[in-house]
Symmetry: C2
Subunit: 373 residues, 2 copies
């Protein structure tokens, strides 16, 4: 089974990818924490727990305490963290307790942040249940919550002790979530791994049908990209910024739609298309290759349409965390598998690229409004 190491100045741990990991959690936790009594607290959503609690509990001699958090980006706020912390405290969790994040990206980000700040930091383990969480958000120690004024504006770097990605769990993932997660794998291919991109191009049908072997290959390759990039640049001072490909406009789309209408991977998909437009208009990425990438992004759709103007979206990018002293960083591909970070993308340039993405969206998809009527 693939075991992929993450090695940063502040932490070393493994991402293990295999079918059936869930049923073996207790012995794995014991191996990570030898000689200590295990006091385990699980943070999960009612949906995930309903589907998978039997497998999850199979290995535990003493059942861990389970804390529930409703699914969804709108719960990724400090109020949820505080409520979970009060429950931990009431249940007697102390500095030796271990949290398990058992869910998608929101559960993982909140639980990691809770572990970062409960009693000034306790241990935690990621058991991601969505494709997006398995290939991206569970790895690298970025934890946090949203503010009303922007996504992930509150958080900590706090690495898990381990990531256990059980690919069996993907079988109960709604199709839209699978496709949204695959957009992050496409991102990994475009920015860092041309082979992964080609594999996803040549095997789109099997992957989209959820073929276990193909999915495991995509998950493993995507995890390798993330683990490699994070190991080289833990705190996002350089290389790690390339993981934000598609995120400038992607985050703006999420903000414009109040984090409700699109899945994260779907917003990033549109954001990648906008970024590709910038690169191809600049001539730093061939228009033909940009089309090739855009077409594959669309093939891994359908990506839902949304209502927002280019002007509105560009205005929302002003609060991007990547901005430093007012300068906007932007990740652009130079070829499939390589990128550059540029700091001179102008507002008109970004507006034009966004408009062109929006008009593609209107050609490709039926507007949400009409769908509902």
């Amino acid at each position: 089974m693939p075991v992929i190491p993450v090695k940063t100045p502040s932490a070393s741990y493994n991402v293990t990818i295999a079918a059936g990991l869930l049923q073996t959690l207790e012995s794995r936790l014991k191996k990570l924490n030898p000689g200590k009594p295990l006091r385990v607290f699980v943070v999960t959503s009612p949906e995930i727990w309903g589907l998978w609690h039997k497998s999850f509990l199979a290995s535990f001699k003493e059942a861990p305490t389970v804390l529930f958090l409703p699914a969804g980006e709108r719960h990724k706020r400090l109020a949820s963290v505080e409520s979970l912390a009060e429950q931990l405290s009431h249940s007697g969790a102390d500095r030796d307790s271990i949290l398990i994040a058992f869910g998608g990206g929101v559960i993982g980000d909140i639980t990691g942040f809770l572990a970062a700040i409960y009693m000034r930091g306790i241990r935690y383990v990621q058991v991601p249940t969505t494709l997006l969480a398995q290939v991206d958000s569970s790895i690298g120690g970025k934890t946090g919550v949203n503010l009303a004024t922007g996504k992930n504006l509150i958080g900590s770097f706090h690495h898990p002790q381990a990531v256990f990605a059980d690919t069996n769990v993907l079988a109960t993932l709604p199709a839209a979530q699978l496709r949204a997660g695959l957009q992050e794998s496409l991102k990994a291919g475009v920015i860092y791994d041309a082979r992964l991109f080609r594999y996803m191009e040549q095997n789109a049908e099997a992957i989209l049908a959820g073929d276990p072997a193909s999915l495991t290959r995509v998950v493993s390759a995507s995890v390798r990209v993330k683990a490699d990039v994070v190991s080289k640049d833990e705190k996002e001072s350089g290389l790690r910024m390339i993981l934000n490909f598609g995120h400038t406009i992607g985050h703006a789309i999420e903000a414009a739609t109040n984090y409700k209408q699109l899945l994260h991977g779907e917003a990033i998909a549109w954001g990648m298309i906008a970024a590709l437009n910038v690169a191809s208009a600049r001539g730093t990425f061939s228009a033909k290759e940009a089309d090739r990438v855009t077409n594959l992004i669309l093939r891994y759709g359908p990506i839902p349409a949304f209502k927002a103007t280019a002007k509105n979206l560009v205005a929302l990018t002003a609060r991007d965390k990547k901005n430093r002293s007012g300068i906007r960083s932007f990740v652009l591909p130079t070829a499939i598998g390589t990128t550059e970070i540029v700091r001179d993308v102008t507002e008109p340039e970004l507006t034009a690229a966004t408009e062109s993405m929006l008009s593609l969206m209107h050609r490709q998809t039926t507007p949400t409004k009409k769908r509902k009527s």
Copy 2:
């Protein structure tokens, strides 16, 4: 002027103690951050700002953005952190921005925590305005807020870039706050610095009268204790625990009185007396020396009385952050200037020591209830 270094594995910085530091802040910040534009955000209380804004602003060419937080322990909650973070985001604070905590311990703890988690960590500087904050809470990187279930249960280790303690500011400190802060200096003497203890014993009158030279000496010696201990044990895995002398019962008193009735230093004063009772009942600290310390603690009073039973207080210690896997650590002096950490204090022992402290309290002070009538 005394410049006392703090050197830990994760940060090195200085605590500077002098009259008139406030008027020199901008050049000091520039020296700490050469070649970068300064984007400064101040977190303070309306009271402190009203008294000291002219001195504070004197050195700034461009006035920093000021964010207000009402004074008081009850505002030390995640809701305050979230509100400040939203204000930072609205005002365009980014990863290059610098926060200044300008106030007492609550302002310092909240601002430090805000700096720890805003955009996953930005720089900040402590400008403490109470004696307690100058000698203790501004140093060492412990930041955080309270839960309903307990004090400081949420937080981070995040060191400031520098601490600037302007002793001029102590002149406007209410007498009760000065005395409460002096209890923390007494604590520093008892646990680590017999010379400081003797100085406070021999010069109590001048110190309590606010004599600037005596106060500066007490502040400097106390800061040296804290800086030394923190430098040797940043994350409280051993030595740093001695700083918690008096805090087990002290925190329980604060919880029992809803953090409203006593100042932190006052609660710690009673907590130290309870701990002295444990040590002297065990025979690990001479009864005569315990009386000597207790008498000096009372001399730096009056310490207000409160209503709580020993049983109630001991029950409240069960949630102490220092407990690990159910084991309670306890800091006891063995002589003035040295301590030990013991893990075998029993509940009956602690209850007896607390009862004895409560009966001293009833002999010493008029109960609050009668005072009010």
